[in-house]
């Protein structure tokens, strides 16, 4: 094998990809411009929407105002609450959006419990519309004020019978999280990052892999390579390294785009706190060690599919289930609490997502890392051998 020929094919494919508008859009425009704009847009409008709703008052319709004058007074003091009294079609008014919450107080709520013969809890019936944000906000506001009102009554009653307010609170629990900050970030990133990385690798590799294999077959340019003096293996390797490069660049740009989107202060409108990612050179090296075979594996499988397919359309059809399987395997890491058995670290993609997670949590398990490397590299080599073999098979190269 002549590496100079591999490099010639590689350079030609990279040059072609750079000039392909579709590759540039999927590799640069989408991750660097579309992702930040999309997430910033979603974040911006969510926050703006919440803020504008939070500035509006909640209309509360109270039926039976006379039964709880103190409660009504507490509600009235809140500038975000406007009380109305309307007994005509209160439900229609609620569902029509004129009123955001209806409160029905059927009986007198007495503070002074000694005046009562027996204590039976009184039901205050609250009606709201869970499908509107303003009604949900009204519920939140009223719940907080009612809790306060309840505490006031309990304290007054306790006082009446000579007990201190602390009587009902024999102790207070204090929860202290001992997890280091890096580990907390690692746990959070460990759930989502492997999944995103796997998606970005496959998205980046898919278009170019199909284009330089099945696409080339379709355009008739593959025959010109087959009658040249470079070997089938050199052609496959040149194309393979191209897909690996494009996939890796897409992933890096994709992560950059997502970082821009999630770390831009505008997303949180000033509320963002700087995330301190646990970084060290050894971690970076281990990440590369795990990432490279994953990129290699995805590229090899996609190249194999592309060479096997008659044309780009057929290749895209074959690639879709592979992509779905990759997403499924990547998604498993999103679930908290799943521990993978040792032998399951030989399942490609699944192993990557769990090793990523471990690394981000600060655990370096060489058994898991070795299993991941052995499995991914072996499958990638098998796929490459199969792809080279396809180049020798007339029924694959010339079927139409």
């Amino acid at each position: 094998m002549n590496w100079k020929n591999v490099s010639l094919v590689y350079k030609k494919e990279i040059q072609g990809a750079i000039r392909d508008r579709r590759t540039l859009i999927s590799m640069i425009v989408i991750p660097l411009i579309f992702y930040p704009l999309l997430f910033l847009g979603i974040g911006y409008f969510t926050v703006i929407g919440q803020q504008s709703t939070e500035n509006l008052p909640s209309q509360i319709n109270i039926i039976g105002v006379e039964n709880a004058p103190q409660l009504v007074e507490i509600l009235q003091k809140d500038k975000n609450i406007k009380i109305i009294q309307s007994e005509e079609n209160p439900e229609n008014e609620l569902l029509g959006g004129k009123v955001h919450l209806t409160m029905h107080i059927p009986e007198v709520i007495e503070t002074d419990y000694l005046e009562k013969d027996s204590i039976n809890p009184i039901s205050i019936i609250m009606k709201y519309d869970s499908t509107t944000q303003r009604s949900q906000l009204a519920r939140k506001r009223v719940t907080a004020l009612i809790d306060y009102y309840r505490q006031e009554i309990i304290q007054a009653r306790l006082k009446q019978i000579g007990f201190d307010a602390d009587f009902l609170q024999p102790f207070q629990e204090q929860w202290l999280d001992l997890a280091p900050e890096e580990r907390k970030v690692g746990s959070m990133l460990g759930s989502i990052l492997p999944y995103i990385i796997i998606i970005l690798i496959f998205i980046g590799a898919m278009h170019s892999a199909v284009d330089i294999t099945a696409g080339e077959k379709e355009r008739g340019t593959l025959a010109t390579l087959l009658v040249s003096q470079i070997s089938r293996l050199e052609i496959v390797l040149g194309k393979y390294f191209t897909v690996m490069t494009i996939s890796a660049v897409s992933m890096i740009l994709g992560l950059t785009g997502l970082s821009i989107a999630f770390l831009t202060p505008a997303y949180m409108l000033g509320e963002v706190s700087i995330i301190r990612v646990p970084f060290s050179f050894s971690l970076f090296f281990l990440f590369l060690l795990i990432l490279a075979p994953l990129v290699g594996l995805a590229s090899a499988i996609l190249i194999l599919i592309g060479i096997f397919a008659r044309n780009s359309r057929e290749a895209s059809t074959y690639v879709t289930p592979i992509y779905m399987i990759a997403i499924f395997l990547g998604m498993i890491s999103l679930s908290q609490g799943i521990e993978l058995a040792k032998q399951l670290f030989f399942i490609p993609i699944l192993n990557n997502s769990f090793v990523f997670k471990e690394l981000l949590m600060g655990t370096v398990n060489w058994t898991h890392i070795s299993a991941t490397l052995i499995s991914n590299i072996s499958i990638a080599l098998l796929a490459l051998a199969a792809a080279t073999n396809m180049f020798h098979r007339e029924n694959v190269l010339f079927r139409s």
Binding site: K12, G16, R219, T221, T224, L226, Q229, F398
Partner: protein
Amino acid sequence: MIKVTHLKKVFFDKKRGKITAVNDVNFHCRRGQIFGLLGPNGAGKTTTLRILATMMKPTTGEVLVNGYHVAKEAHKVRQSIGFLSGETGLYDRFTPCETILFFGRINGLAEQEIRTSMNEIFQILDMKSFQDVRVDKLSTGMKQKLSIARAIIHNPPVLIFDEPTVGLDVITARVVINYIKEFRNQGKCIIFSTHQMPEAEKLCDEIAIIHKGEILSAGTLADLQQKFREKDLEEIFFKLVKVKVEESA
């Protein structure tokens, strides 16, 4: 330069079973000669030429190109041939200059050698005016000139042309035909397939009429005319096909 002996190629198709695309084909083509394979679509021309170009392997028989065995010495055969077919495409995102540089390099030529040959070929094929224009912006004629340039950049002694004028307008087809004649004058061994009788009449030194994978008759145009007592090649072709059909019935 090309010697084909008892060539047979069999395919297996799930629906149709065993298909004999080429059956006991024999011919040879010398230096400075244009050998034409004349036959309708599906006659076995493309399969024969793909075997000559090492893209397919013969089921049985022996094929020597420039003295090298196509199955055993494929690499050496590829050094000796230039291949052009109606279905060989070009890279749309490259210019003619970049295309030729790439094919020169993968055919093992030195950088200076490629540039000298490229300039010469571009001069001869009148390609200078569009050598730096992207292929997707070129006309069909310009593209075909580039395909020829690509096939001959490494100066191969054997040229294999599989229906090189298919889909071309009359003017472009004539340009291609003239270049093929020019290559013969340079002493190259040329094998040329077509289903157009006038093209074969004008161009080929020897013609083999191929039908359903078998060569029905071969020789110079004069030989064939004398043998079948017909001046028109088309009439000769139909006579041969009719005899073959009657024989099979």
